[in-house]
């Protein structure tokens, strides 16, 4: 919504860092010692380093809910109907 010169969140898709919303991401690689994981968004468009200390144990391929660089919950692919 700004003139493009000012860094800001994308007002059309909501704010992924500031609000209550978390983003679902897939674990690609894990650094067990540092409790960090490389994660990608569902469409693969974005990758980022994510803290996984709060949702251990984590395996590659898991889906996590990520908020402000930290996974706050598992978002597994199996749920009861």
């Amino acid at each position: 919504m700004t003139d493009g010169l000012i860094p800001s969140c994308d007002h059309t898709t909501g704010c992924i860092t500031c609000g209550d919303e978390a983003v679902r991401m897939r674990v690609i690689r894990i650094d067990i010692e540092r409790e960090l994981a490389l994660c990608a968004t569902e469409d693969g468009a974005e990758r980022s380093t994510v803290e996984i200390a709060l949702v251990q144990p984590v395996s590659e391929g898991d889906h996590l809910l990520v908020h402000a660089g930290t996974a706050i919950a598992h978002a597994g692919s199996q749920v009861a109907a």
Partner: protein, 373 residues
């Protein structure tokens, strides 16, 4: 059943079916006011036009659950003072940069020469500190319990890795005290609450039990997809119709009733409650915000650099307080869409996309409401 968590919760046919069930559940002649506490829900409601699917007598009221919207002007001024009066790198989330202080925004302070940078996570700010060992890096932390564990983990990591040029100006807030303050407000009439989804991932659904117990209102913790929200409204109406009043968890696929114990543990280690904190539009609320605990005092930017701590009254024209309490709709504010727009926000509710005013403005609600008049 395998779920991808996206398309299944946006199915139009199921949405219409749920809307039909909602219509069946309402008593004709009774007006229902349901507050969605979380700004993320407000955003989804307008993005997907959920309120258009509801009967006329079911009204959604927007709550105080946007962490950007509730930051008082004085805290923005404190941040700007810290960033400009010290030779530091000051970092914050993008939305925070556009929140007006009494004289300017952090973006304008940056244009005036302060080294203020946007980050996407506290971890990014810590990385900046490691890349610039000769500079002090401050992270301006905001957010409810969803975000606070992230800040806590980063502070623990800074200490473990011996990063001494990193500190945090803590503005984290907690969800229960403002809800209690709202419920104690005499001008508020609500029938039930849609509880916040991802805050509850951390704190669980249990902390909301005081709402049915002490105030006799149902709470349904909900996810953010359109069907989640419609389902939650149906559940609230169901409780009201059956004379039940309890906390229900619509978002059980993600929210454990008792929250995330690891997150709660790291928060209690790194933070302690402030005796009181000022909320925009709601005033001072006791024990409603977090500061760094004594164990982490050396990483507290307010102690390291000091802040003026001057209280600033909200602009007179701005009615964010009434919007945050759900007393008026955004378009009923005197400056909505005229003096106050997302490009030139007067009030914080217009700054963040999670803010009720920005959600109204961005999704054309203003135009539609005007046509109806």
């Amino acid at each position: 059943m395998t779920m991808k968590y996206m398309d299944e919760f946006r199915d139009a046919e199921l949405g219409r079916a749920l809307a039909g069930k909602i219509l069946d559940a309402v008593e004709p002649g009774r007006h229902y006011k349901v507050m969605e506490v979380c700004g993320g829900h407000t955003h989804s409601i307008y993005k997907y036009g959920i309120d258009d699917l509801l009967p006329e007598n079911v009204e959604l009221v927007h709550g105080p659950g946007c962490p950007v919207c509730v930051i008082p002007m004085g805290r923005v001024d404190d941040g700007i003072a810290m960033a400009t009066e010290n030779d530091i790198v000051f970092t914050c989330f993008g939305d925070m940069m556009r929140v007006p202080g009494s004289e300017k925004t952090l973006t304008e302070a940056k244009a005036d020469g302060a080294d203020i940078r946007m980050v996407y996570s506290p971890l990014d700010a810590l990385r900046l500190a490691k890349q610039n060992p000769d500079r002090e890096v401050v992270f301006f932390a905001i957010g409810f319990e969803t975000t606070a564990p992230s800040t806590a983990l980063t502070l623990k990591r800074a200490r473990a890795e011996g990063v001494t040029n990193f500190s945090c100006m803590c503005n984290h807030v907690t969800i229960v005290p403002p809800l209690r303050a709202l419920l104690d407000s005499p001008d508020l009439r609500l029938d039930g609450f849609i509880g916040p989804g991802h805050v509850s991932t951390v704190v669980g659904a249990r902390p909301f039990e005081f709402i049915p117990k002490d105030y006799g209102k149902p709470v349904v913790v909900a996810g953010f997809e359109p069907l989640d929200i419609l389902h939650a409204i149906r559940m609230i109406l169901g409780q009201l119709g059956e004379g039940r009043c309890e906390v229900e968890n619509q978002y059980s696929r993600v929210v454990p009733y008792d929250g995330n114990p690891a997150a709660l543990k790291v928060m209690s280690e790194v933070f302690e409650l402030r005796p009181h904190f000022e909320w925009r539009g709601l005033g001072f609320i006791s024990q409603s915000a977090l500061r760094l605990s004594d164990a982490y005092a050396e990483l507290d930017a307010e102690k390291r650099f000091g802040v003026p701590g001057v209280r600033v009254a909200d602009p007179k024209a701005c009615q964010c307080g009434e919007v945050l309490k759900g007393v008026i709709k955004p378009y009923e504010c005197k400056v909505f869409g005229t003096a106050c727009t997302p490009e030139h926000a007067i009030g914080t509710c217009m700054v963040s996309p999670e803010g009720a005013c920005a959600a109204y403005y961005n999704y054309g609600r203003f135009a539609r409401e005007k046509e109806l008049v």
